[in-house]
């Protein structure tokens, strides 16, 4: 006679509920807390629409990896990988679905492909017509290095501090690229902080913009810049790739993919590729990237004081980057005797095109006939290049 009681007991013992409650003090509570955090992130993504295309995947990846006994993600396997005890082959053989997804993050495949999509969607025309925008893109990297210094002061190691600092670049793929190389154990916290703050740019930036610029300067109308020829737009990605990759070879992967995507867009003979990179490929990689990054948010590594420090340092980095760009904008405003609206400096933090839209919105609140969007796009795309250079520098120092 079958012992139904034993079958049910076995079923209970093999269930995730049992794993959580039988080992509640030893780690089960962490699983529960992480499941609650995953649900909060899903709420923010779906109801509040905080970067939903990424946050839904991140939150669901977090949910999946914190379901005990699911075997989808194995942090211990990646610890061995980091210690050079095993290779990708072992991960493929012994890992779960999310471990296999994560290989794309670890090899930098996903961030680079996302950058290719970003390049294919970016018009560098405003930057080419006003090259001085690059100075604002550089000034707005201040938060990266200030947060790096702050992180060292709070007790993080050099590579960890570099990964936290890059949140100030307001560039998700760059943050993931650098963190996966320097401090993979912080990837979950840094990715969530970076993407959450990017979604909060319309709330974070305007108070800083109003505090650091005068009402008179915010009303400045900027003159239309010159028309950029098609040939210039085609030469630009090739020139930037050669130039930046020679200057900082560690940025070659990111800048190369960004510019390849842009070249697909501008050549006029690769429209099909441009379309694929902008849409199908971008969407597929976003699914894999977001789920894999979310999977790294395992309770034992995420529920620490370090995550709270990352959240605080992240917002400081964003704020200081905005402030740096505005300082640059104010200086340019004075040097040009009021021809440059300092608000466009705030768009120097990457976050394309959100930061440029915020500059335009704040400008229009002060002067409804002011259209700063195209002027702000120059510093905005310069910020993408600037944050990639900053990441390349940090990688060359700490990598």
């Amino acid at each position: 006679m079958i012992d139904i009681g034993e079958i049910l007991l076995n079923l209970w013992n093999k269930s995730g509920f049992s794993a959580i409650f039988a080992n509640f003090a030893g780690g089960g509570w962490q699983n529960l807390v992480m499941l609650v955090i995953a649900c909060v992130l899903l709420y923010l993504a779906i109801v509040k629409q905080f970067e939903p295309l990424l946050l839904v995947g991140i939150a669901f990846g977090c949910l999946l990896s914190n379901l005990p006994l699911g075997g989808l993600y194995h942090p211990e396997l990646w610890s061995k990988f980091m210690a050079h005890e095993i290779g990708y082959g072992t991960v493929m053989l012994e890992g779960g679905l999310l471990d296999i997804f994560y290989i794309g993050v670890k090899t930098s495949l996903y961030p680079c492909l996302i950058f290719m999509g970003v390049g294919a969607m970016t018009d560098f025309g405003p930057l080419l017509s006003n090259p001085k925008s690059l100075l604002l893109g550089a000034a707005a990297q201040m938060g990266v290095f200030a947060a790096f210094f702050g992180a060292v002061c709070l007790g993080f190691t050099g590579p960890e501090a570099a990964s936290i600092g890059i949140i100030g670049g307001a560039d998700g793929p760059t943050a993931i690229f650098l963190t996966s190389k320097l401090a993979p154990h912080l990837l979950g916290g840094i990715a969530v902080a970076a993407y959450s703050y990017m979604a909060l740019i319309p709330l974070i930036q305007p108070p800083i913009m109003n505090a650091m610029t005068s009402a008179k300067d915010r009303k400045i109308k900027m003159v239309q810049t010159r028309v950029v020829s098609k040939t210039e737009k085609i030469i630009f990605p090739i020139m930037v790739t050669i130039f930046v990759a020679l200057l900082l070879p560690d940025t070659a992967a990111l800048i190369g993919c960004l510019m390849l995507g842009n070249l697909f867009k501008e050549t006029g003979v690769t429209d099909r590729l441009s379309d694929t990179v902008q849409n199908a490929l971008m969407n597929i990689v976003t699914i894999l990237l977001s789920t894999a990054v979310g999977a790294t948010m395992v309770g034992s590594t995420f529920l620490t004081a370090d995550t709270l420090k990352i959240v605080v340092l992240g917002v400081v980095a964003f704020g200081l980057s905005t402030a740096g760009g505005l300082v640059g904008g104010n200086i340019m405003c004075k040097l040009t005797k009021g021809k440059v609206n300092p608000l466009i400096g705030s768009a120097g933090v990457s976050a394309v095109p959100m930061a440029a839209r915020v500059a335009n919105t704040v400008g229009q609140k002060n002067n409804p006939s002011n259209f700063l969007l195209m002027h702000a796009m120059g510093p905005n795309v310069a910020g993408v290049i600037g944050s990639a250079i900053a990441a390349g520098f940090l990688l060359s120092v700490f990598g």
């Binding site: 090259p131 290095f145 590579p159 030469i235 630009f236 020139m239 930037v240 250079i389």
Partner: protein, 124 residues
């Protein structure tokens, strides 16, 4: 640059070294982007000069031709009273242009007849 040479040992970086790395990193970003700015500016000037040369070539014969040779039938028609001139559309259908003008007027809070649109071009 001894700290750069000792990169693998920067795990436990001191405050002083962190400050130096931060300042140097910021300087490198500026240096890279300033160089890029110089290159783009030079490229822009070359292209602007190239554009100016054919424009000057076509403008010269046009200026030399006597104005009286233009037949009266080909002279532009008189503009309607009260008009602010013609609107040039580049790759923009008239319906889209009308919508854009209405949106701009609405955003600015000004009547459409008090605004002058010179040209509308689709940015590709």
């Amino acid at each position: 640059m001894t700290f750069l040479a000792a990169a693998p040992h920067l795990e436990n970086i001191s405050f002083a070294n962190a400050g130096i790395v931060a300042l140097l990193g910021y300087a490198v970003v500026f240096f890279g982007l300033i160089l890029l700015m110089v290159v783009i500016t030079i490229m822009g000037k070359i292209f602007s000069a190239k554009k100016a040369v054919p424009a000057a070539k076509t403008a010269a014969p046009a200026a030399a031709a006597p104005a009286a040779e233009i037949p009266a039938s080909q002279m532009p028609k008189d503009l309607a009273p009260g008009t602010a001139g013609q609107l040039k559309l580049y790759d923009t259908p008239p319906k889209t242009a009308a919508m854009i003008m209405a949106i701009v007027a609405d955003q600015m809070g000004k009547p459409l007849n008090e605004l002058r649109f010179i040209s509308i071009k689709e940015v590709k």
